[in-house]
């Protein structure tokens, strides 16, 4: 089926060339990072995880969001989603590829990464994260590929895929729970030490993943002959609406707990993010932008008129996606590290080189996504012909 990705329109080739170019630039800057060290980023002694890990955390959510189409279709026989499950699975693959790449570029000694497997450490959440992320990648690859291949041949997919599909559903939940567990089990980080972190990760995942999927479906409608279906897009939009409401509700729960209890250690991180602390407030406009975007997203998605209008739907999905990206990405990371365990403030701002590598990784992810979507859409077009 890969041959379907090699042939395309001039626009397709142009798009792939741009992505490869960006990925290439990112790679060259990464070589500089390998040579110099992680000092080319803006990270410091206090904020030791930055833009790379922020994007990793967010993208694990997007990958898990794929379960929002798989679950209704395979578990509850919601036949309409049959047109988009493959897109959800392929989006998950591309997202996990980006996640793994972000982790690799964030490592100080990446050539030693096999140590995680050579010296398995079951008490370390990072060990489990490696296992579940790679497992999810393989699950989706095997399931997506075989189901699509079967569709192309006009037969039912092999029966041994069914248990794998069923496993992939709790597995999707697990990848994001394990990622949340990276943060919420650390005793010294009050901002993350909350039971609601994992539920919050899942809610923002189920908002941002399907939001991106909606946008991708609308793009596919525009540039190919395949129509994923307006009914399907509307169902996804309802999912996003519920999920983003729950996400904002969880956030408000956090705010209540911190500020009603008046415990300084809990309030300080939120204060740093939303009003600044000890004269440092670089994140304040970003956090308020994130809140505004998420609220606009809620309004546009809950209101049926704006949800059913394509333009406002696009705006809503963009708002939800970027709102969640800021809140769950750098907002969560920096908020956890600042102030540090000694209550000092040392801010973290990403550097341009860091940004170039990040763009390179996203380009790589979208390259993989484009190949996979090209294959899926070509097969669907073929079958419908």
């Amino acid at each position: 089926m890969l041959e379907l990705a090699i042939k395309g329109s001039k626009r397709y080739y142009g798009w792939m060339a741009v992505l490869l170019g960006l990925a290439g630039i990112g790679f060259l800057v990464y070589l500089k990072q390998l040579d110099f060290g992680l000092g080319i980023t803006g990270m410091n002694r206090d904020v030791t995880w930055g833009f790379y890990i922020a994007n990793f955390t967010f993208l694990v959510g997007v990958a898990a969001g794929g379960v929002m189409v798989v679950l209704p279709y395979y578990l509850h026989d919601y036949k309409a989603y049959g047109k988009v499950t493959i897109l959800g699975e392929f989006l998950a693959i591309a997202s996990v590829v980006m996640c793994i790449t972000f982790i690799l570029v964030d490592l100080g000694q990446p050539m030693r990464v096999m140590n995680v497997l050579l010296y398995p450490t079951p008490n370390s959440v990072l060990f489990w994260d490696t296992i579940v992320l790679n497992g999810y990648l393989f699950l989706n690859l095997i399931i997506g590929w075989n189901v699509l291949e079967a569709e192309r041949q006009g037969v039912h997919y092999q029966s041994w895929l069914k248990p794998l599909i069923y496993i992939s559903i709790p597995w999707a939940v697990s990848i994001h729970t394990v990622t949340a567990y990276l943060y919420c089990g650390l005793p010294g980080r009050g901002f993350w030490l909350t039971a609601i972190l994992a539920p919050r990760f899942l809610s923002s995942a189920f908002a941002s993943g399907p939001a991106l999927l909606i946008l991708l479906c609308l793009v596919i409608r525009r540039v190919t002959n395949y129509d994923p279906g307006w009914k399907q897009i509307q169902s996804l939009a309802v999912t996003v609406a519920y999920a983003i409401c729950i996400n904002v509700f969880f956030l408000l729960c956090e705010v209540f707990v911190a500020f009603y209890s008046q415990i300084p250690e809990h309030m300080d991180h939120l204060k740093y993010l939303f009003v600044g602390l000890h004269g440092h407030g670089a994140y304040v406009p970003w956090m308020w932008a994130s809140m505004t975007l998420m609220v606009i997203g809620i309004i546009l998605l809950v209101n049926p008129v704006t949800r059913k209008n394509e333009l406002t739907l696009i705006a809503a999905c963009l708002c939800v996606f970027f709102g969640c990206w800021i809140d769950k990405g750098l907002g969560m990371i920096s908020g956890g590290f600042v102030p540090n365990p000694l209550h000092e403030v040392n801010e973290y701002i990403p550097t341009p080189l860091e940004g170039l590598i990040t763009i390179g990784v996203y380009a790589l992810g979208f390259f993989v996504l484009s190949i996979l979507f090209k294959i899926a859409v070509s097969v669907k077009e073929e079958v419908r012909a």
Partner: protein, 263 residues
Amino acid sequence: MDTSRRRILQLLGLSAAALAAPPVFNALAKEAAAPAAEPKIGPGNEALKAKQWAMVIDTRKFKSEADVEPLVEACHTIHNVPHFDFKRWEIKWLWATEYQHAFSGTTSTRFIPDAVAHRPFLVLCNHCENPPCVRACPTQATFKRESDGIVMMDFHRCIGCRFCMAACPFGARSFNYRDPRPFIKETNQRFPTRMKGVVEKCSFCVERLAEGKMPACVEASGGKLTFGDLFDEGSEVRKLIQTNFTIRRKVNLGTEPSVYYIV
């Protein structure tokens, strides 16, 4: 193609023989090259031993930066800790800070005597009995040594993921954001440097303990710091803890730090 059952069994038998041949051959060959005696590995005769190393810092004896500097110098010099002017890349194993920072979250400086509010409090890795950094490390590059309770760094294994730095509730760890060598003022030839991309922290001077010496900061402190076995009832540190009021950092987190402060 002749694919009878006999053929397949013949092939299987041949493959099994081929796979079994090298180990059998090696086993037979080994007999000829048996070594004379087995090499032995052990601690040196002068090595100091303890079940859990601990430190007691008598903060009353520290009046100003001048009391702290020689200790930090001693530690950072013999361990080739680099000095960066650029604060983002700062590496420190031992340093002094104010009371409200050393014990942040568990104390306040309101209405306390000025002398305490401005007293320098040394902070370093606490070599906890229940270390969250060890729980976090995915490769056991940081681990708690069973022999003496020291939370060690294995720089050979560290992949630089910095999960341990996120896990440490005391901010005791530093990361090498770039090659430290150009920034080491005076290289101690007898101790390695680190390379870029690994995490480092105080090691309770394991290399000095192995030679029967006290940690560098303890030696340089002239009695302000005491070091010994927490689980040895007769040790100096136990006596000090029993006869003075001591506090530790963030005890409520349950990490059981091994650094005690006499206030």
